[in-house]
Amino acid sequence: MSRQFQYQDDVLIEKNFNWKQMARLFTYVKPYRGDVARVVFVMTVFGMLTKLAIPFLISMAIDKAIKPADGQTSGGLLCLFMGIMLAMYALRWWAQHYTIRQTNSIGQKVIFDLRTALFKHIQGLSFRFFDKRPAGSVLVRVTNDVNSLQDLFTNGVVNSVIDIAQLAGIIIILLALQFKLGLAVMITVPLMFIVSSSLRKRIRFAWQTVRIKQSRINSHLNESIQGIRVTQAFAQEKENIGFFDRMNLSNIRSWNFASALNQLFGPVIEITSAVGTLILLLYGSHLIQSEQMTVGVLVAFITYVSYFWEPITRLGQMYSQLLISMSSAERIFEYLDEKPAVGEKPDAVDLPEVRGHVRFEDVEFGYESDRPALRGINLDIKPGMTVALVGHTGSGKSTIVNLLCRFYDTVKGRVLIDGVDVRDVKLESLRSQIGIVLQDTFIFSGTIRDNIRYGRPDATDAEVEAAARAVRAHDFISNLPDGYDTEVQERGSTLSMGQRQLLSFARALLADPRVLILDEATASIDTETELRIQEALGTLLADRTSFIVAHRLSTIRHADLIVVLDHGVIVEQGNHEQLMRLKDGHYRGLIEAQYRFLSA
């Protein structure tokens, strides 16, 4: 197959059963152990016993009332037995009602707790975590992986207990009713067990292949829809169709195999159980003939034996389910064990209201340990200053602002705001006083108003509008069908990039941070919008310490301080006039280059 598209697999190949993980998973059930105990009690006592009592009652009715050996039939006894049966069924009605509600309630609570714990943990993880992982695979863990545990916690736990109890109950009853026949029928159990577990293992592997292929298909579908414009523009429809056809075919082949194997299970179990039926009929009749057993008991036996396979089959299914669940659990725990690279100290305090004095003291940092991204950075920025960071891609401009927000921790040196080390304060108190406008700011689905309000949910409508006006976003918003209440979807795709950026400016302004960072904020904005933003910048930058990271040098001319970076080192700093005076200076070189490109 061509390597046109490649998909790594998120699905783990089955490993040995991990009891430790199982135990860990069950710590989430612990808070509800009282509920579990109650429902198990109700179901075993009322549910199981009523079920097992019925065949016995029927056999009693036959042997004592309908067809007693001594010929003394009794209508009264028949009514009595049927009355008891009816009462049993009524009890069962209630017990089932209770069990369904309770098991689901337990299961949903556990799932809820687990998902909340996972999401909360992920919220606390730092950028290093997200840098390494595509969004899709994080999403799958919080949604699908947690969901796949749902069945285990709703039905699995309780039903397994009940099934084991039921199995034990049936064995006891069979042996008690007629010891020899019970023993003879149970000879088939090991046979059944071997056949079913070997078959089930194959089925499991077959489905695993299908799941892997299916997940590749889904990845490709998702991608081909999102990249359809590229596909059509490059006239690659036929190639894509060919690729998909092969992918689909291979999936269907595995599916056919797995499905054929899977469908074998029921019939094979049935044929195996036929051995039991044979023994039951032949030996049972023999026992009646030699008067060691009554007809009623035989009828009861037939029913009990048919009950016998039920819990065995279910427990087998449960085991397969458990193995799948365990691989999900493993993936969930992998995330829960991830330690945030940027942690809050236990004695972290709230950062007091910031005036905006920022200092970098001999800062060193690297995204990977062997390649430093910044070295020996010293900066002293007074409150209210506008600082521009200039340099080529990869020179470390964005890294400086990342350290200021403490998205990463320095390897060496300190970052101070108003004299306080950023590592000593609570993250929320730090970041809520810093505003960032990114090159590609995220627009959440919801109304325009909600999006502007994102950094300050309690802002009034008037404040939202004022912020939008200040960044010149009001006009285009008013032209939208529902104005500020227009719903935007899927990363704001209905808006142009420039419009999205204006929204993010409004968002930053409304949050009113003491320190503002514009990280390549105007790079993808069209000219007209940029002109408007240039006007708005004055409003935005007034009275706050601000950092501007930009390719376009025109945006930074008026900065109080221009810091020129090259390969992680500050090579020059000063204002525009000072830097222009440096012959052969980096900054001057960059400025001149623009004109060279213009006339070259």
Binding site: Q6, L78, I228, Q232, S259, E270, F444
Partner: protein, 595 residues
């Protein structure tokens, strides 16, 4: 059933399997009913009279029937599985092919999640229903028919007595379906709400963290999570209400049968064997009855799924080849693009003003056309119309004098290459991404294209070089790196017409400058369209067109445009305000004018 008629062409060729699935199950059901009959014979003719001669034969017959039944079950399972799989495979291929040819206008309003769920969950629903659900639904009918017939043969008054429960159970099952349906719908909504809240949180993690809005996000998530839980609990409540009562009613009929039947055995109007076998049959009939609600639910769900799929499959393809469309000879194409009085309005946006109005342009081979303008001014529309992503409303676009609507779509697009504003890389290696339009490209040509796009150096710095897997599920690249790969992809094709739709916005000027120089070499004698916001990107164009709300407001060369008042000059002045004093020339005065 209209829906299934619409889907007929996807499964009718496998009607053998369909028959196998239905008949296999029906035969298995019929054989299952024989077993209680055998019990009757055992009790009445052997145990009670004490004559055991035929016992072995009877037992073997029972075993034989069980085996035959197992065989029939397998026929049902196998046929149903095959039927469903083949159907699913055909549907998936057909939908995928449809997705490939649907025009841009369809995707403008379509949502990825919605399309995905049609191609996955909906197909799955139809697979299960046609493969198994249909046979099971029919089987429930057979079971009632066979079962009660057999019971009637043994004793019709008792059969009539128990028949009463059928309408009662059917009524409850239908009510159950009626109750559970809306719950399923809100569960679907809850799942998608939860997914969206998590997905946005992860994709927007930088924004979330920079606003320190984790508590707000936590609240949003909690809402979704609670909603998910509560909906599932509502589902459980419906189950808890209906399942036990259905079972109770079925059991009630068993008690009734045993009570009345028991008295008749006592009165000798019925044999014990008959009673036992009637009891066994009744048990078999009522067991699947309570799943009737599920089966009905299954049917309605898959009907809805079928409707959604057919809607997709029947979507009109508005952009397609004309009859006897011209197939271009690659070597003969010059790349002369001509717009003649073109007007265009986006489909589904009829209430909005035209995206392009009275647009005229002549781009002979070898020319470079620059496009400048604000958001919604129509720049991207111009290049997308050339690709025939949409058809023009009025006027015409010609390539080498031929209206592009008369050219075969694939051969038209093969002459062109576009780099989109929002770069899209596929989940595969960098090499395959560059070779996307040309699968048979040689290693040298791929490297050459990467070098031209200034991508070779950073690619070589990656641990796996050209074999690094990128895309949504691969290694993260910066915006500028992605743009350069996309440019390399376009250059590899050596297109007759190249379109760069704001394709260098994330690059620094020096890199952009080098790329432009290589473009000039590669595109010599070919046509290039550049949409950009930077003057430096447009500076050398043979003609620069300034657009505003779909109309051309200015056109000319750089030197002309900087002398006219207007958007171009304003942009120029903003971007070159920091011009060093000694480099300042004639434009100094103009700057003072605009302040």
């Amino acid at each position: 059933m209209d829906v299934f008629r619409g889907l007929k062409s996807f499964f009718w060729q496998d009607k053998g399997f369909l028959l196998g699935s239905v008949l296999g199950l029906a035969t298995a059901t019929a054989l299952g009913l024989v077993y209680p009959m055998l019990l009757k014979v055992l009790i009445d003719d052997m145990i009670i009279p004490g004559e055991y001669e035929g016992l072995l034969g009877l037992a073997l017959l029972a075993v034989g029937i069980v085996m035959l039944k197992a065989g029939c079950q397998y026929v049902h399972g196998f046929s149903g599985g095959r039927l469903g799989n083949r159907l699913a495979s055909r549907l998936r291929n057909a939908s995928y092919e449809k997705l490939q040819v649907l025009p841009f206008s369809f995707y403008d309003s379509a949502r990825t999640g919605d399309l995905m769920s049609r191609l996955t969950a909906d197909i799955e629903g139809i697979r299960n229903f046609i493969g198994f659900g249909l046979a099971q639904l029919m089987n429930t009918g057979f079971l009632i028919l066979f079962g009660f017939t057999m019971m009637a043969i043994i004793d019709w008054p008792l059969m009539l007595m128990t028949l009463v429960i059928i309408p009662v159970l059917a009524y409850i099952a239908i009510r159950f379906e009626f109750h559970i349906h809306p719950v399923f719908r809100s569960i679907r909504a809850a799942v998608s709400r939860l997914t969206v809240s998590v997905q946005e949180n992860i994709m927007g993690v930088r924004t979330v963290k920079s606003f320190a809005s984790e508590p707000h996000e936590m609240k949003k998530f909690r809402g979704g999570n609670e909603n998910y839980r509560d909906n599932h609990l509502a589902l459980a409540a419906v189950w808890a209400k209906y399942f036990p009562i259905i079972e109770f009613i079925a059991n009630l009929s068993v008690v009734l049968l045993l009570l009345v039947g028991g008295f008749r055995v006592i009165n000798k109007t019925l044999t014990l064997g008959e009673l036992v076998s009637l009891n066994g049959m009744l048990g078999m009939i009522v067991a699947p009855l309570w799943t009737l609600g599920f089966q009905i639910n299954n049917y309605t769900q898959s009907k809805a799924a079928g409707e959604r799929l057919l809607e997709l499959l029947n979507q009109p393809v508005t952009i397609r080849n004309a009859d006897r469309a011209l197939r271009l000879q690659d070597e003969a194409v010059q790349g002369h693009i001509h717009f003649e009085d073109v007007s265009f309005r986006y489909p589904n946006h009829e209430e909005q003003p035209s995206a392009l109005l009275g647009f005229n342009l002549d781009a002979p081979p070898g020319s470079v056309i620059g496009l400048l303008g604000g958001t919604g001014s129509g720049k991207s529309t111009v290049v997308q119309l050339m690709l025939r992503a949409y058809d023009v409303g009025e006027g015409s676009i010609t390539l080498d004098g031929v209206d592009i609507r008369h050219i075969e779509l694939e051969s038209l697009r093969r002459q062109m290459a576009i780099v989109f504003q929002e770069t899209f890389l596929f989940s595969t290696t960098i090499r395959e991404n560059i070779a996307y339009g040309q699968a048979d490209a040689s290693e040298e040509s791929i490297i050459e294209a990467a070098k031209l796009a200034q991508a070779h150096d950073f690619i070589m710095e990656l641990p796996q070089g050209y074999d690094t897997i990128v895309g949504e599920r691969g290694m993260g690249l910066s915006g500028g790196q992605k743009q350069r790969i996309a440019i390399a992809r376009a250059l590899l094709l050596r297109p007759k017409v190249l379109m760069l739709d704001d394709a260098t916005s994330a690059l620094d000027m020096e890199t952009e400058h080098v790329i432009q120089q290589s473009l000039r070499k590669v595109m010599a004698g070919r046509t290039t369209f550049i949409i950009a916001h930077r003057i430096s990107s447009l500076r050398h164009a043979d003609e620069i067109i300034v657009l505003d709300r779909g109309r051309i407001v200015q056109r000319g060369k750089h030197e002309q445009l900087i002398r006219q008042p207007g958007l171009y000059r304003e942009t120029y002045q903003t971007q070159y305000a920091d011009r060093p004093d000694e480099l300042e020339s004639a434009s100094a005065g103009e700057r003072r004018v605009s302040g």
